[in-house]
Amino acid sequence: MPVGDYASYSDSELIEKAKHGEDVAFGELVSRYEQQVAGTVKGMLGDNAAAEDVGQETFIRFYRSLEKFRGDSALGTYITRIAINLSLNEIKKQKKVISLFYSRDNEEKEYDVPEERDLENESDTKELVDKALLALKPEFRSVVVLRMLQGYSTKKAASILNVPAGTILSRLARAQKELRKIFEPFV
């Protein structure tokens, strides 16, 4: 069957086909959720090679867990949960490596707040957003990525991060205050 034909199938149909060994069906799922996973992992880790690896690992983990997926939550939510957990693990791993080679003082200066400049072109805006996100603590960043970049509701974000909705709201409020400070010269 040509690849294009799979585009008409629903997620659950593609999952069933992938479970029965149809790799093209799984490939179609990758195409459908590639952008969403990129938004999650690159929002969490920055636009770099580590994020590409985590993105790839996300789909491999999803492939391994195809049999376990029962469809209780939307597929996008399920994949995003894998992506965010792997991203948080990657951040922990990176912190461990940093703490092995640098003192605590250096660790705290890990991320720079962007320098003041005019946001005339798109790449400047992208760079600014990336730096601003990385300036946030991972627990705040994950909430910002889910709520403000991916557009998940507070309830969905809470279920993905496995924390109460109140925690999402308080983290989001703190993150917005920090972002407001970071973006002060630009807005």
């Binding site: 952008q35 805006t125 917005q176 973006f183």
Partner: protein
Amino acid sequence: MFDLLIRSMNDQLTADEDKQLQQAFKESSELREEKIKLNKVGKLLSSRNYSFSDGFRNRVMQAVSDEKKGKVISIDFTRTFTSMFNRIAVAGVAAIVLLVISLYISHGSLNVNTFTGVDPISQDNLVSVLLYEK
């Protein structure tokens, strides 16, 4: 009021809170400006579109194919090293404990001489050794 403004952007306010905020908007141009700035920040963030580099899908499919063939896709070196180190450490501690127990059983005590394997030398013996003449 700034906290209430932020909360209004993420959560449903009560009727009282909403009334309070609307009143504050009427009275404070600073607060109105804050709302505009917060909206701009939100727009900047939501405008950021990320995508993977070219060939991402093919790389994933190759990894899936390797997975099917039973190849190891990625080895998490840190995790493997940590789990191996833990096993080696536990085995080492167990070996040391067994050694100490066997030493205690064979020598009946755990003094320095037991560990060094040197027989106790009393001062009398030492003197006799020093005074020994052929």
